[in-house]
Symmetry: C2
């Protein structure tokens, strides 16, 4: 499994991904799920992906080939078009592999979150489905998740607010969301790739890879647990009666 | 969907359940999922259930009929036997309904958490599966969940500790776990039934039904969100470099 997310705030974007790849319980390995495509000063794209590693690799490889020859993401005229480029690339890989996979009951599975900015436009955040269709994040629901999404969702629902959450705060929410997921589900694991993109920078300046024993990650993990326990301890007790009625 | 949980601590048990029942998106109603069977001074059982309402009702009805004539849960000599009584009752209902359901591709679905105590034994907590087999909670993993379990799990993993969590604290964790789930998933909804059972009481003294606008529930909900945001705000910022390597 995988857990990746993207957060959109008035200051820009946060993208984060775990790095665990597993095929069954035995073949567990580390695999980077964050990929960047940058033309400094002109356009920045960050992709995080979930799904079959084979399919995802083919999609990223094809996007890279096109990008490097000035095509695809390198010339998309808007973020919406860029999301369509990713979707079209997924469809090209589906044309190659889907029938063979489905013949053996293996689903064609790839989900991609695309964040980025093209000069002259605002930054934006999209989820592209295995069918190739894109979904845009909104100010009301300023984050997108893929993979093992449920464990890490409550903290995002409680904390994020497009108009008020700074990128500095959003980065902490992203790490907490990933940390909560890793704590409760073994198929999501470190290192965590974390990337901040401030509006209009049009270059990547802020990336961090948090390994399992990274002191900052350990501090966040332990500090969070201690703080949560303290909040609960300080909360007023729930009052009880015996109003359970007979059945 | 449904979300119910049971927590075991050195002081006793907490059981909690939501009350939303839905059949598709249209038929949404309120339905109590917590059921008690008590012989004061001798034995106390609390059941919370998830799954098909029809199947669950049949199981509870049959358990009640047996209990009232001094059979089943009324005479099980241990909590393990009580869990087996619940499992056997599930199997009796399966014998009646399963084939007809499966003929129309409807799964036979019922999961039950059974908490309670029989005089002379310690209190205990079991999960009984649709197949009728029981699973006991352990001190290392002192809680059991059924239904929509993922959203509400991180707070339990962070907070609960069999040897140190009081029932008063456990009740707050249960409400926060349910509140997190209701916040992120519309198929789980209030009222929340919450029951505390202190070891060796052998009667039910502490039950609370928290409706949607219950001032205590609103205070917990709002206080929790405010406190979480404050913790995140007070956490040290994550430091960044630009160590993302070319691909």
């Amino acid at each position: 499994m995988t857990y990746c997310l993207g957060i959109m705030s008035y200051q820009g974007l946060v993208l984060a991904s775990d790095s665990r790849s597993n095929s069954g319980f035995d073949q567990v390995s580390v695999c980077r799920k964050m990929h960047t495509f940058v033309l400094p000063g002109e356009r920045v794209f960050v992709l995080v992906s979930s799904g079959s590693l084979s399919v995802t690799q083919s999609v990223i490889t094809q996007l890279r080939i096109d990008f490097e020859r000035g095509d695809g993401l390198a010339k998309a005229e808007s973020m919406y078009r860029a999301a369509r480029v990713v979707g079209d690339t997924i469809r090209r890989v589906a044309d190659i592999d889907r029938a063979a996979l489905e013949r053996d009951k293996i689903p064609f599975n790839v989900n991609i979150i695309l964040g980025g900015q093209i000069k002259g436009e605002q930054s934006n955040l999209y989820l592209i489905y295995p069918q190739g269709n894109p979904l845009r994040a909104t100010k009301d629901s300023p984050y997108l998740q893929i993979g093992e999404v449920k464990y890490g969702r409550p903290i995002l629902d409680r904390g994020l607010d497009f108009n008020n959450t700074t990128l500095d705060q959003a980065a902490k929410y992203a790490v907490l969301s990933l940390d909560s997921t890793m704590r409760s589900n073994v198929t999501v694991g470190p290192p965590i790739d974390l990337l901040l993109y401030y509006e209009d920078e049009l270059i990547i300046r802020q990336h961090r890879r948090l390994k399992e024993n990274d002191p900052d990650l350990l501090e966040i993990h332990a500090g969070w647990e201690t703080s949560l326990r303290k909040i609960v301890s300080d909360m007023p007790s729930i009052r009880f009666g015996t109003d359970i009625t007979g059945e």
